[in-house]
Amino acid sequence: MIFSEAEVVTVVEMISVQELRGWVQAGWIAPAIGQSGPVFDELDVARVRLVCELRGDLEVPEEAVPLVLSLLDQVHGLRREMQSLAKAVDAQPENVRAAVKATYRSLMTG
């Protein structure tokens, strides 16, 4: 599912084209570049919605939005790495998993 600028404004409802362009320029949203303007996918649209909610109900001031997005992107980056690491450990033979588990426990309990 892909959306043009105008379609994003229509589905998200809470945003003007000018605002959307400002957010893209600021790098908050990174749509693909299409032959006749930016092209948004569902992830981009969900992110536009998220920024709307941050600015609206969550009352995050304009200047603080990049900070919140940066932290969220870090959390998502970490979640992704954690999931991959967990899968990598799961794919190991039983004795390796047990060794990883034991070392992990001793590190966490200090």
């Binding site: 990174a30 909610e53 870090q74 998502h76 992704r80």
Partner: protein, 306 residues
């Protein structure tokens, strides 16, 4: 958990619209699912709180609830998919940042091995500037045949880009030095442009093969024919053999997408027999006669009419 919207928001039955909004915003800041990725119970609570808020902020619904005509769940908001659902299932991780663990590289061999790989996928600060990521949607035929294209970037600058013939979705083009400027004397980063190939109305692609459906008439299917068929780089001719069926595939060797080593994939032409708009009396009479002697059952495994 209580389903009473007043209790959920922690306000009294006589709370003003303003008090309700304030209470909701305070809870939203704490509970918003995108600020608590991975926490299901917080998400459930947020859903209830949102539903309570939308019920109580609608004067008519609130009055109906107060009169006991509807219960607290009466104003279920439609299921919203939060950003994190998309972010978690995005294989490219294009918004993900590695800033939260970039310094692990020095602390652990395994992390430097694992995360050092990502010079293609992730931007990182060193002396050189950060890479900038773009995604570009290209037309199906431009991707097959190659094209030159000028990108207008969000910051107003432009980049001239050569799309190599045979590009696929996910192909990443690296433009050296077109990223962010370096720190100090460091060189600029690169611009990484990920291509997405737009679908085409007629053609589709499997690996290096191009697939096109070719409608043929009843007489062409029975008698065979030489027919022109659209190809990715111009029109092609195919010979439809006598007695062709829908689903038969004609392979035009070397007429597919370039593989990058000078060779090409094939174009596969999938036949589709289309009946005439009207079955005239002559055809009908002929078929009636024909089937007396030649009836066959294509649903049997042998299937043929030999």
């Amino acid at each position: 958990m209580s389903d009473d919207p007043y209790e959920l928001l922690g306000v009294s039955k006589t709370a003003s619209v303003d008090e309700i909004r304030k209470a909701y915003r305070k809870l939203a800041k704490e509970l918003h699912p995108d600020l608590n990725p991975g926490d299901k119970s917080t998400e459930d609570r947020f859903k209830k709180v949102s539903a309570a808020h939308s019920l109580l902020s609608d004067a008519e619904q609130r009055a109906r609830f107060d009169r006991g005509e509807i219960d607290g769940s009466g104003a279920d908001t439609p299921q919203q998919r939060y950003y994190r659902h998309y972010a978690d299932s995005d294989p490219s991780g294009r918004y993900h940042s590695d800033a939260g663990y970039r310094d692990f590289e020095g602390a652990s061999d395994i992390f430097s091995d694992l995360f050092g790989r990502g010079s293609d996928g992730q931007a990182r600060f060193r002396a050189r500037g950060q890479n900038v990521h773009y995604r570009l949607v290209v037309s199906f035929l431009d991707a097959i045949n190659g094209a030159k294209q000028q990108l207008n970037l969000p910051d107003g600058s432009t980049i001239d880009l050569t799309i190599p013939a045979g590009s696929k979705s996910g192909t990443i083009l690296r433009l050296r030095g077109k990223g962010h400027p370096g720190l100090g004397d460091g060189p600029s980063g690169d611009a990484l442009v990920e291509l997405t190939v737009a679908p085409h109305a007629q053609f589709s692609r499997e690996g290096d093969d191009i697939i096109v459906e070719l409608p043929i008439s009843l007489d062409e299917a029975i008698l065979g024919a030489k027919i022109e068929v659209p190809g990715a780089s111009g029109r092609l001719r195919v010979t439809v053999p006598k007695g062709s069926s829908s689903g038969d595939v004609l392979r035009l060797r070397g007429k597919g997408a370039p593989k990058g080593d000078g060779r090409h994939g094939d174009q596969r032409v999938v036949l589709k027999v289309v009946m005439p708009n009207t079955i005239d009396d002559g055809l009908e009479a002929f078929m009636e006669e024909w089937r007396k002697e030649h009836a066959y059952n294509p649903r049997e495994t042998s299937g043929g009419n030999q």
